[in-house]
Amino acid sequence: MKYLKQLNKKLILGISFLLLLFSNCSLEEGVYSIYTPDSFYSNDQQVLSSLSGAYRNFASIPTFGAPYRVLECCTDQVVVHGKIQGWWANSSFEQLAEHKWDASHGYLWSMWNTLFTTVGQANALIASLDASGLDNVVGAKAELRALRAYAYFYLMDLYGNVPIFTLPKVDPNNLPDQNTRTEVFDFVIKELTEAVVDLPSQNDVGDEYYGRLTKEAVYSLLAMVYLNAEVYTGTAHWDDVITYTDKVINSGAFELLDNYADNFVYNNEGNKEMIWGGVYTPDVTGGIGHPIVQKVMPGIGGGLFGLPYTPQDGFGTRPSVAALYEAQDDRFKMFMMPGPLIDPRNGDTVMVEKIVPDGNSQLYDPATSTEGPVPYVIINATGIRNQPMNAGIKWLKWGLDPNTNGGNAGNDIAFFRLAGVILMKAEALARKGEMSAALPLVNQIRERSHATPLTSLTLNDVFEERGRELTFEMKRRNDLVRFGKFNDAWEFKEASSDDHWNLFPIPKRAIDSNNKLQQNPGY
């Protein structure tokens, strides 16, 4: 008995010790660095934080990465001249420039992914907002629906038949079905017309709303969708273009700026011509910017144009683009034509130590010079491979930003501005044969830039004016396809009789993850 008692004491002591040790051993673990939706959406600021993510993703399209390259490098306007020492010489650019892409092209996947991420974000956030029980999320939901429709416009435009999907989550065992381009068109129109009801007009909001979608932004988008309707569905909708462009023009919220270049300056946010665009703030921690000047300007070091870096000498353009302008046209000033390079700030010729064909040149500096100065001369490119550094026409449309960060600039980039809306209306009128109504609209644009007013108008004049006014603004591919010119020959690109190039292939990686997707013809 005594022994037992002792054992009991030992046992009790031992067990209590162990219980003490394990008393904290629950499997309930805390959540530290994530939010869970059931606890998250409780006020407007939290709603806004999700909108911020969705807008941010969409604003990555014009930042001169893959999506921008998909939209512009396959056209006649933006071209990349591969350099002698291998810079910018790669098949991604070459395939776009020569119309030789295939379904494994990385940029095409990147664009697809960006757009469907917007769709996925909108789907998930709309469902979360519905579940939040907040009562004033109508506007936010409308913004998300409109943004999603915008993404679907691009998807329809670039890839044709894509799945329409609005549920918050894809069931991996029941993958989305592909829809026809016409169905996507109908969906986009329906979504936009429904969303626009709940959005505020530009007239009713102030600076605190800048960067978000308004009624007028959605009207502009509707006009653009209708403008291309014939390409997507076979049926033209010119009257609808006129209806919606009128809603924008007649809203009175926008006006053409006196000076064309003011649309593109670094501090262009909130200008009266901008309807909606991406907001770029490279100087804000975690914000986005775009490296347009860094990627385009010639490779000259030592403070070219006061820049704090040596530009990368990437994007250029073709002589045919510059040749469309009259010499006195303000818009022509964006080009740096063959011949001595002129500093846009003061009109001086840029002097360098020497022109280095296979590397960066250095600005002439009397203090350290051993060879210079010589004027930096731009020469015509002879191809898209093996070009000396100074070959090819350059352009400086979005102006110099004195506050770049890592080469990224803060000029906001418009998805829509009033000039583009006016030209859409002009085209719709011209398409209907109402040339006399269209002519003053075109001339309104031309006169602002001091181009000679036209006395008569053809449809091709509208095409060319759009090319002049909206250069590099991600509209050119639409225009070329709509006017049946996408398969024409231009510099360093042969003509094609095969119109399957008008649609991009559905990216291979998209088909890999959804085997219900049928590839577009010709790929």
């Binding site: 030992k10 394990f22 020492q85 098949s91 991996p172 959804n514």
Partner: protein, 1107 residues
């Protein structure tokens, strides 16, 4: 130990029992020491001072105490009685005085031979049977050091006619048939048989039983004797470790263990290795084994992913290779490494056992109170450069094709510029000691290595203290083990997962035109611009430093409640802190646009462990014994990190040390934790010492899974039959034969935390400015999956352990089948989705394999010995399905690589019927008349077919180790080979298309390919190469000095080692053994080579001293 059962002697004149009280741990230590100076002597041990205070204990217990305190081992033979109670109080007495004292008045005599002490019955001394026989044999038995061994049993095989040797090792045996076989046995020594061929004198040299069946093997929460192992467990002790410039523990056993495939991912000093035990079974949840250090399971694999997060963009030049957390453990502190391979062995670790378990046991006691000091110096250099065009070849090609090219009149070999001879040094100091009730060992280590690329190096400091104390009359044992390591890595910018617009040091060294100079006339670097950076300036101007601190410690207390029952409480803690700092000066081309950039990344992984085990051990009769274990453990793991980056510095001279002088571009923090609560039990039952049964059961609960499947159950069972111990088993050749059968279920849970929850989070420090206000971008980041559960692997194993010719040749053979179900699969979500990937339990993978290892004592002569071991393993991996109720897919394309060739294009496929690591793409069928590539197009649709074009898994791997001992010299040669694996040589693909030059330099071989300049680079089977190889991994020559006459020195050995001396392969890249990390911080895909840091050839000179 195998009992020596001798029948009752015919003559009845002698009956002897053999006892061995030698502690098994001592045995192990003997091995390590012996191996280190195989021909050394131990005469100095006679100077060992013993302190004893014993009251009325049996002689046997006193001898045990002496063994605990000293190097001595006691062997008895003959009829001696050690039950007599004695008392002794000694202070600093030598062994002879102690023995004289306690054996006074007995009939026990002793003889000290080195550290072996033989006890014998003085009355029986030199006894020999004296029957009238035609032949009498005599001789002397000695050990390998030529010292006579008394007490050795000499028996005529098949009879009971025998004798034992006297104090001088002499014996005389009569009655011996002329064709008899004499058997010499002595506990702790290898049994020897000598067939008589007419001689009258037989002198025998006994050898230590090196592949002992008595060796103890760690099995997780306990240990068993090698002879009693039921599962598939490989054990490698310090004497068998790879010698050389090793930084990480896993390299110690590279090529030495069948079924364990270890690839050092690159040649960067301190780089991580990929360790795969019996193939890969998981697609997304990791295939790394579980590491258990001194009983504490570590969770490094998942944490490792965060180590790389430098927060840089995808085009960052900074190395994305993971760090190796095991680096902080000093290899010279490791006593043994056990690899648990089959499920019956690993099931005790339940949900973490599916990829095998590696148990690392550190040295807990210094042998013989010695102070040891080890050191080496080494030099490493590139083994092979890639042959790119020389300046003349480059000029000729460009001129003959009428192409403009950059030319500054230089003739630069850029690989010569960035590669260097790296110097290394290493110092280890250890000491220890103890008393009757306590012992300890302490060590300090310093290691420094320069990499073969400029500015890459590692410096490492380690300290360890292991101590134990017993109390309460030996009923309570308290242990602590602590190690602290500090590692300074200087990393070179050698990222391989970057887009095609940027560069890194190795890429630029290959592609820079040889016509360009390193320096301008003024001594500054010749630079082209930010997309083409002077290779050497990557190394010298860009800083990337990583400091790792690791603390690993545990304390345990074991209490003997009753004789059969012990309770043990173990508390463990590990804490790993990794800080990474980078800076790019404003003067460097890639820092210019930002006016300099710096970042600080801090990561902390820590875990706490509490566990209690009860062990019950009872011998029920002579015929059966039972060991039962039950335990509960709880472990919590926490990961935290912060990252900040700034640019636009006032001046970058401050690097990352004054971040406020720049402007912040990223500032993030993160924390996540998970818990694991487990109960487990194991039964080991032994019947007739021949039939061994093991059953284990573990129940794991993990906070990584939602409520629906939070707990998992992992059972296993094994049976082993010691065939050779059966009475009917009578083979002169087969000295040991054991058959093992095992089956078990284990799990895998190495997935990120919180996947079962719906999550919203912020990527980086993303904001977007709406209405003039920067608003953090909070977005859904995970789809919830409350049904997520363990990945389950069922494994069956059949094995045979055998020993032939009296254990002269031993080996193991295992056949296994691993079937993994409910794979934790991370798959790309189908569009449209807010998240890029999601997780589900989908798919099945099977691994079937065969392993063989052989150890042979080929030559056993007095002055010359040759031991060899060979291991061979083959594993076949196959994906069975990728579909179930959750998900259905015919195939998944994976492992996109970077570079201009296949940027973003997948190179491998996961598909039922094929192995993980199957290459998939166009099949190259030659060049057409225009020099354009053609590909297989079986269906003639004008589009190249996509087909399986290779397999990164080897057909088999093997390792061969040879050890030679000649007088005081020793030589070891380790060869290692892999046969039948394919590697995608992305580097060759990128630099083999002539259209790339003169824009970039290309490989010389490209000029002979006959390709058109119109041909653009393409991923195809053309660049898949057979990467079979045979490598002379390690060759080591040592000399051990005779220190008998140097009173202060007990051991001195010098050695010369060469590592990676040659590689026989047809692979054209730097090295066929490569695993480039192409996906930024994740797990490196198998079989892809893209600009990996090459593995060096190393020579080193070292010395080991003991005082």
């Amino acid at each position: 130990m195998k009992k020596n059962v001798l029948e009752k002697p015919r003559l009845g004149k002698f009956f002897f029992k053999l006892l061995m009280i030698m502690k098994l741990s001592v045995f192990l230590l003997c091995f390590s020491v012996l191996s280190a100076f195989a021909t050394g002597t131990y005469s100095q041990t006679k100077t060992t001072k013993l302190s004893l205070m014993v009251q009325n204990e049996s002689i046997e217990n006193v001898l045990k105490t002496i063994e605990d305190q000293s190097v001595y081992r006691f062997f008895y033979s003959g009829n001696i009685n050690t039950d007599k109670k004695v008392s002794i109080t000694s202070r600093d007495m030598d062994i002879e005085s102690v023995l004289n004292e306690i054996l006074k008045g007995t009939n026990i005599g002793y003889k000290i031979v080195g550290r072996q002490v033989a006890l014998f019955n003085k009355d029986e001394n030199g006894f020999s049977s004296s029957m009238k026989q035609t032949k009498q044999i005599s001789g002397t038995v000695t050990n390998e050091s030529r010292e006579p061994i008394p007490g050795v049993t000499v028996v005529v095989k098949g009879t009971t006619n025998g004798t034992i040797t006297d104090v001088d090792g002499n014996y005389v045996l009569s009655d011996v048939p002329t064709n008899a076989i004499l058997v010499y046995s002595f506990v702790g020594m290898k049994k020897q048989e000598v067939a008589l061929t007419g001689q009258n004198t037989v002198n025998v040299v006994m050898q230590e039983e090196t592949i002992g069946l008595n060796e103890v093997v760690a099995i997780g929460y306990g240990s068993v004797r090698r002879a009693d192992v039921t599962g598939s467990i490989s054990s490698i002790s310090s004497k068998d470790f790879n010698l050389g410039l090793t930084v990480a523990p896993e390299q110690l056993m590279q090529g030495k263990v069948a079924g364990v495939n270890i690839i050092q991912n690159s040649g960067q000093p301190g780089s991580a290795s990929t360790v795969r035990i019996r193939g890969s079974s998981s697609v997304s949840a990791g295939n790394d084994p579980l590491y258990v250090v001194d009983g504490v399971p570590l969770q490094f694999s998942s944490a490792n992913k965060y180590v790389n997060v430098a927060g840089e963009s995808s085009t960052s030049p900074f190395s994305s290779e993971g760090s190796n957390p095991l680096n902080a453990i000093n290899p010279s502190d490791i006593e043994s490494i056990e690899v648990l391979k089959d499920a019956s062995a690993t099931a005790i670790y339940g949900s973490r056992g599916a990829n095998g378990v590696i148990i690392i046991t550190t040295k807990s006691k210094n042998f013989g109170d010695a102070i040891t000091y080890d050191t080496y110096v080494g030099a490493s250099a590139i083994r092979k450069q890639l042959d790119v065009l020389s300046a003349d070849q480059y000029r000729n090609y460009a001129q003959s094709n009428n192409l403009p090219f950059p030319d500054e009149g230089a003739n630069t070999n850029w690989q010569d510029v960035i590669f260097r001879t790296g110097l290394s040094q290493n110092h280890n100091l250890s000491f220890g000691g103890g008393s009757k009730t306590s012992n300890y060992r302490a060590s300090l280590g310093y290691n420094s290595q320069q990499g073969i690329i400029e500015s890459s190096s590692i410096k490492k400091y380690t300290a360890r203290l292991n101590a134990s104390q017993t109390g309460m009359d030996g009923k309570l044992k308290v242990d602590i083990n602590m190690t602290y390591g500090k590692i300074f890595d200087d990393l070179t910018p050698i990222s391989s997962n970057i887009g095609n617009e940027g560069g890194n040091i190795l890429k630029d060294a290959i592609r820079w035109a040889p016509t360009l100079p390193v320096y301008n006339a003024d001594g500054s670097y010749y630079q082209i611009g930010e997309l083409r950076v002077n290779p050497l300036s990557w190394a010298t101007e860009i800083d990337d430093q990583r400091n790792t601190n690791l603390f690993l410690g545990n304390a345990s207390a074991e209490f003997e409640i009753i004789k059969e029952l012990k309770v043990k409480v173990n508390l463990g803690h590990d804490d790993q802190i990794i800080n990474r700092y980078t800076s790019v000066p404003a003067t460097h081309p890639i820092g210019e646009a930002e006016n300099g950039r710096a970042s600080i990344s801090k990561l902390q992984n820590s875990s706490n462990l509490i566990e209690t085990t009860l062990t019950f051990n009872k011998d029920f009769s002579e015929n059966s014994s039972l060991t039962a274990l039950a335990g509960y453990s709880f472990q919590r793991f926490v990961t935290e990190n912060t990252f900040s980056a700034a640019n636009q510095f006032v001046s970058t001279s401050v690097k990352w040390n004054l971040m406020q002088s720049g402007s912040m571009i990223s500032n993030t923090s993160y924390k996540s934790a998970n818990r694991l609560a487990s109960m487990y039990a194991r039964l080991n039952y032994k019947l007739y010492d021949r039939y061994l049964f093991t059953f284990t059961l573990r129940r794991d609960g993990s906070s990584r899974f939602g409520g629906n499947n939070q707990y998992g159950l992992f059972p296993s069972g094994a049976f082993a039959w010691k065939l050779s111990d059966e009475p009917f088993f009578n083979s002169s050749r087969i000295s040991n034969m054991k058959v093992r059968l095992g089956y078990g279920v284990t799990g895998n849970q190495e997935i990120p935390n919180d996947l079962f929850r719906e999550q919203l989070s912020i990527s980086g420090s993303n904001v977007y400015v709406l209405g003039g206000t920067a608003i953090p971008s909070v977005l859904p980041s995970n789809y919830p999956n409350p049904d997520l559960k363990w990945e389950t692997t069922a494994q069956s194993n059949v094995g045979i352990d055998f020993g032939l010719w009296d254990q002269r040749l031993t080996g193991s053979l295992d056949v296994y089948k691993k079937h993994t179900t409910d794979l934790l699969l991370e798959f790309s979500t189908a569009s449209p989705s807010v998240v890029q990937s999601q997780w589900a339990n989908v798919g099945e993978v099977e691994n079937n394999g065969f392993e063989l290892s052989l150890d042979g004592k080929i030559i056993r002569q007095n002055d010359f010995q040759w031991n060899a071991s060979i291991n061979f393993s083959t594993n076949k991996n196959e994906v069975i399905t990728l579909s179930n109720d959750n998900f259905s897919r015919d195939e998944i394309l994976v492992n996109a690589t970077s570079g201009v060739v296949s940027n973003g294009t997948s190179t491998q496929i996961i598909k039922p019927g094929e192995a993980l690591g199957t290459f998939y793409g166009r099949k190259y069928t030659g060049l057409d008349a225009d020099g354009m590539e053609t590909y297989q197009d079986a269906d003639g649709d004008g589009v190249a077919d996509l087909v399986v074009i290779g397999n990164a898994n080897p057909d088999f791997t093997y390792g061969i180790t040879n050890n030679f001992f000649w007088k005081n010299f020793d030589l070891s040669i380790n060869l290692r080979g892999v046969v039948g694996n394919d590697v995608y040589n992305n580097t060759a693909a990128e630099f083999s298309y002539v259209n790339a030059t003169p824009g970039v330099n290309i490989l010389q071989s490209a000029l002979d390919l006959g390709m058109s300049r119109s041909q653009i680079s393409q991923f195809s089977s053309r660049w898949i190469e057979n990467a079979s190889y045979l490598r002379l991994d390690n060759m080591n020559v040592g000399y051990t000095f005779n220190t008998n006459h140097i009173s202060f020195l007990s051991k001195a050995r010098v050695y010369l080692t060469g590592q990676n001396l040659f590689v026989i392969t047809n692979y054209s890249g730097f090295d066929p053994e490569v695993r480039t990390n192409t996906n930024r911080g994740g797990v490196a895909p198998i079989g892809i080579d893209y600009l990996s840091y090459p593995r060096p050839r190393i020579f080193m000179l070292g010395a080991s001293l003991a005082f």
